[in-house]
Amino acid sequence: MEWHSQLIQYLATGITTGAIYALVALGFTIIYNSTEIINFAQGEFVMLGGMIAASLLAMAGMPMWAAIMLAIALATLLGVIFEQLAIRPVKNPSVMNLIIITIGGSILLKGAAMIIWGKDDRPLRSFSSSQPLHIFGAAVTPQSLWVMAGTLVAVILLHFFYEYTITGKALRACAYNKKAARLCGISVERMVLFSFALSAAIGALAGILIAPITFTSYDVGTMLGLKGFCAAIFGGLGSNPGAVLGGLVIGALESLSAGYISSGYKDAVAFLIMLLVLYFRPTGILGKRSEKV
């Protein structure tokens, strides 16, 4: 195999995983912007998306697109329930308390998934044919293209939502200054609820997109959640473009290091990058919110 097709192969693989990290990172960003909390249950919604879709397809035998829609809807509903039962009723809602609650929620969701679905890995079939395409000598599976396309569409929709809709603008207002937003008549509670729903939906989408490539099981959320968190930190917590960039960079670097150095260090790469960013540029590459209003 020529060196350049090898390089393209590593990059194609890396960008696929990176796109998933990007979606997970977006989930972190959305909630962080409206509440300042880091939702450590984010990874579990990725798991839920994949697991629900896999079992819907296995049980009911419904068409792929319907299973995907229903899985996203169910995961979103769970996100809403999570906010209503675990986040909203907290008497002393300091950021630290809420973050610890999300860790608890993550353990609860993971445990429940283990009891419901068992511990085996589950396959999810590819969205379209599994015959790989050959691009400059590198093999790219159609599912990788689905992942990239799905992420791209999600990012574009999210951008339009934030820029051009009232709800999106209200969310941004909450992100800039909660008090001022409230004074303008924006219901911050509703925006928080909405952001939990949105991030659960994006997480579930990520879980469904990646499941045909990597399989899914009750415990996939932990690592994907952590990698997504690294990506969000890399890009600057709170910045949507930063989250996407962070995901892609971390995915690509992981794949390159697995190819050229050793796969043993692959996971370390993401965390090393996060540490370096926190040390040299704590606001992240694209983060601007160092001084809060």
Binding site: Y10, T17, K119, F215
Partner: protein, 390 residues
């Protein structure tokens, strides 16, 4: 008068129950307690669950026939949650609290190794259902551990079988891709150690992490070499991902895997990507295809039909087979020698020509595994089914 009649009636009833209680207790001798430490939950649950089911099934079966020389078997199974630390706690409990006469387990080499010394010090037999040769042979002194036996075939036997197959097909250049854990490291070690004696050259040696979700990078490197076959040493999800990536990359080589993938879960995960994979496997998964002259055939089919009737829809698995052999070897010896530990140990050592699930066992003082490479047959996966290669 009425009172007296009532009193008598009560007296009679009490007397009858007492008598029947005595009558029931009378022929029963104290049960033989056998302990088991199994990875029922945790990462090796797919292996441990059928082992537990098999042990319970065989215990019920033996007790229904009246036990061993009038003694029923009491099987005490503890779950170590695939955790070596918990395996130690449970093994200690079996020895000191339950006072068992022998122990079966644990499921993996990683969970067996820490309990080897505990059981040896208690001077009772341990029959492991895990694979590593280090379980029965002390790797430093090269001495056979007197109290420890095992029923799962060693990696070296699987590797020898693969290399024998390659020699037969005039293939000499191989690439390795192995998982970085106990199973993968042990397999990799044996693949490297035995290669020269079969005149095999290893042209690439790639590894991946247990939780890795994509092995394209490692396979891409292998694709660039002149390897004729790729040998992957991993189980479950990791192995299925290698199979998928292998197919997606359109690798020109043949893919050979270890005996660790010989279960239904692997076929479900890998789907069409499993097609064409060649592996050495115990005879259990191809029992129906064995020639009628095969010594293991009858026993295998018998175990299979009983297990699948009892635990349907669960399918019989190689790992349950290891527990089957452990139970049979132990109870056969118990029948002849009784529960006295030294006699029991010596009797297990004398096991000869026992045709079990894992192969035909011939133990000796120096060999506490008792199998040869012929415990394996070469199998190819075809459309989600195992096919015997002749």
């Amino acid at each position: 008068m009425k009172k007296l009649a009532l009193f008598t009636a009560i007296l009679v009833i009490c007397g009858l129950t007492f008598a029947s209680a005595i009558a029931q207790n009378k022929p029963a001798k104290a049960p033989y307690k056998i302990g088991a430490v199994i990875d029922v939950t945790g990462s090796a649950s797919g292996l441990g669950e059928p082992e537990k089911q098999t042990l319970l099934m065989l215990t019920d079966e033996l007790n229904a026939k009246g036990g061993i020389n009038g003694h029923k078997i009491e099987m005490i199974i503890y779950d170590n949650e695939s955790d070596p630390t918990k395996a130690v706690t449970k093994a200690k409990k079996l020895v000191s609290e339950d006072k068992v006469i022998a122990v079966i387990g644990a499921t993996q080499s990683g969970t067996t190794m820490p309990i080897v010394d505990i059981i040896s010090e208690a001077k009772i037999p341990l029959v492991s259902v895990a694979a590593s040769w280090k379980i029965v042979t002390n790797p430093e002194t090269k001495q056979t551990r007197p109290w420890v036996f095992k029923t799962a075939q060693s990696d070296s036997l699987a590797v020898s079988k693969i290399y024998e197959y390659l020699n037969k097909n005039n293939i000499s250049k191989v690439a390795l891709i192995t998982v970085s854990n106990g199973f993968g490291d042990s397999g990799r070690g044996e693949l490297q150690r035995l290669a020269p004696s079969f005149k095999i050259t290893i042209v690439a040696d790639e590894r991946f992490g247990e939780q890795d979700a994509d092995m394209t990078a490692q396979l891409t490197k292998i694709k660039g070499t002149d390897a004729q076959v790729v040998i992957c040493w991993c189980i479950q999800k990791g192995a299925a991902l290698v199979a998928k990536n292998f197919k997606d990359l359109g690798m020109p080589q043949k893919l050979i895997m270890s005996h660790g993938i010989a279960n239904q879960n692997f076929l479900d995960l890998a789907g069409a990507a499993a097609n064409g994979i060649i592996l050495p496997a115990g005879r259990l998964i191809v029992a129906e295809q064995l020639p009628l002259t095969d010594l293991q055939r009858k026993g295998l089919l018998d175990y299979k039909s009983k297990f699948e009737a009892k635990f349907s829809p669960a399918k019989v698995s190689t790992f349950g087979g290891h527990a089957y052999d452990a139970f049979k070897i132990l109870t056969n010896a118990l029948k002849k020698a009784g529960p006295e530990p030294e006699k029991l140990r010596a009797e297990i050592e004398k096991t000869k020509n026992y045709a079990g699930c894992g192969g035909i066992f011939n133990m000796s003082a120096a060999d506490h595994e008792g199998l040869t490479k012929d415990a394996f047959v070469m199998v190819q996966i075809k459309d989600g089914k195992w096919e015997l290669i002749n």
